[in-house]
């Protein structure tokens, strides 16, 4: 059972294709595990065992007949509950949308089903992907298995927890100001925010349309590349979707980093903010690992974190308020306190300030991309702090802005958070790799080399 719980997509796919692992037995084993563990961790808002077993049986029959669809065929996955699946409610973890049954699949859900994936259910999120952790919602917040009452980050909190607890090998999250990478960092897993426009957002409840991204969350870098491969591609019905070829994201995974130049953005965690010393040391140690593997690591300078934060916060507040205005007018009491507070802020943003924030975004993007000239990718911090307790509201509020993820929502560049070690208390530490637009494969190449050398992914939460 334990082996199945922490099996990766690539390993499971090999076993399933060789008919050494039954998709039905795999799904049953994980459903049993979820039923046993989820009362403690609350990763799932809705488990869909009947749908899962039906999809697993179909996969098993197709594979037995010689019709293997690819690496997700017969593999369990789960979706953050702001992503539409036909016939299931998309609640955004909110009373406001508790009866909001989706009419059709979001393209990202449809692509995973088409690939033969086995949908296990819908995952917890911070309410409307903005307010959390909250204890005044219809479902409790997800809890990080790495510590007693641990805060898992957010907003894709259930996605991070489900992976860390061995409930699924693949999950999808969304990232507007860091919401894939934050739970990835807190839960000791890997989360990619792809280039803006690479993955369709249609059928995904918007938070801030010009900053929203959909991204894959997995335990390993290789699995992340496999999952991105399945969801990337142009959607003519998503206005932000980009046209262009989708490369093979796993092609360079084993090429190593010798000869690459990696920019280290040190001022984010030593000057703009002071990271927890263990977290800062983990980034410096990662730079040494990459140097040891043959990369040149040299310091680069971007704009101060606070500039990106100002830009992001104004845009998110304003665009989120535009999404929520009607619901806030009709039923403001159905929101949790945190989400209502953060979204209501947007009513106070003037149109001129919003336009100025968009202009600032263009300026920051231009300057950031100029700073990336001459490097293959950048290394920096994701979270400034290891996970705190979820019931410590002051600590959660303090941790919320202490991050370096928003810059790459502003610029739209791909950015991945992955494990970078553990504190002396055994809590996950993380790093962030950032690439040129459309260069996810380079991030996977560097992340893959680092992962193979350090093997932080082999460690599991206590008791699991």
């Amino acid at each position: 059972m334990t082996d199945l719980a922490y099996l990766g997509i690539a390993e499971a796919a090999d076993l399933i294709r060789a008919r050494k692992l039954s998709p039905v037995e795999y799904a049953r084993a994980l459903l049993d595990r979820i039923e046993r563990l989820d009362p403690r961790y609350h990763a799932f808002i809705r488990l869909t065992p009947d749908l899962a077993l039906e999809a697993a049986r179909q996969a098993e029959g197709e594979i037995a007949a010689g019709n293997w669809r690819g690496p997700l065929h017969g593999i369990p996955f789960a979706l953050k509950d702001i992503i539409d699946v036909a016939g299931l409610p998309t609640t955004a973890h909110s009373k406001v949308l508790i009866d909001n049954v989706a009419g059709k699949d979001a393209p990202v859900a449809a692509r995973l089903k088409q690939a033969g994936g086995v949908l296990m259910g819908k995952l917890a999120t911070h309410e409307f992907a903005i307010g959390g952790p909250s204890f005044d919602l219809p479902w409790p917040p997800a809890v990080n298995p790495w510590r007693e009452s641990g805060f898992p980050g957010g907003s894709s909190s259930g996605s991070g927890v489900a992976l860390a607890a061995g409930m699924v090998p693949a999950a999808i999250g969304t990232d507007t100001g860091g919401s894939v990478r934050n739970p990835a960092s807190m839960c000791g897993i890997t989360g990619m925010k792809p280039t803006y426009g690479l993955v369709s957002r249609r059928g995904v409840l918007p938070l801030s349309t010009s900053l929203d991204h959909v991204g894959p969350m997995t335990r390993s870098v290789r699995d992340n590349a496999l999952l991105l491969q399945l969801i990337a591609g142009h959607d003519p019905e998503d206005p932000g979707s980009a046209e262009g070829e989708v490369p093979d994201y796993a092609a360079d995974l084993d090429k190593g980093v010798r000869g690459l130049t990696i920019g280290l953005v040190r001022h984010f965690y030593t000057e703009d903010m002071q990271a927890d010393p263990e977290q800062a040391r983990a980034i410096e140690a990662a730079a040494e690992v990459l140097r040891g593997l043959g990369a040149e690591v040299r310091e680069i300078h971007l704009a101060p974190l606070q500039d990106y934060a100002t830009c992001t916060r104004i845009i998110i507040r304003c665009e989120a308020f535009a999404v929520h205005r009607r619901w806030l007018a009709e039923r403001p009491g159905d929101y949790g306190e945190l989400a209502r507070q953060r979204i209501l802020d947007g009513a106070a943003v003037s149109a001129a300030d919003y336009i100025d924030a968009l202009r600032l975004r263009a300026r920051l993007t231009r300057r950031t991309l100029e700073a990336f000239r001459g490097i293959d990718a950048a290394l920096t911090v994701s979270n400034m702090d290891p996970p705190c307790r979820i019931d410590d509201a002051a600590a959660c509020a303090r941790a919320y802005p202490r991050q370096a993820r928003q810059p790459f929502n502003v610029t739209g560049q791909p950015a991945m958070a992955m494990p970078a070690g553990f504190t002396t208390d055994g809590l996950p530490l993380s790093l962030q790799l950032v690439g040129h637009p459309w260069q996810e494969a380079m991030i996977y190449r560097i992340g893959g080399a680092y992962e193979q050398t350090t093997r932080w992914i082999d460690r599991r939460p206590p008791g699991l």
Partner: protein
Amino acid sequence: MANDEERARDIAAAAGLSRLTDEHLAQLAKGVASIRELAAKLPKDLHWSEETAQVFRLPRPRK
């Protein structure tokens, strides 16, 4: 603070948020203060020529 509360009531009325309770309005008043601080951090030298990509654009017909 009193001004922020008045401003919050004005904003709520203009936005059609007629069902906000006093507690919600107090939240909005905090938001007014926080957004004012945030907007003050925007650079003062931003110019209209730094246009964003989010302009209205008509698609060309596909061949």
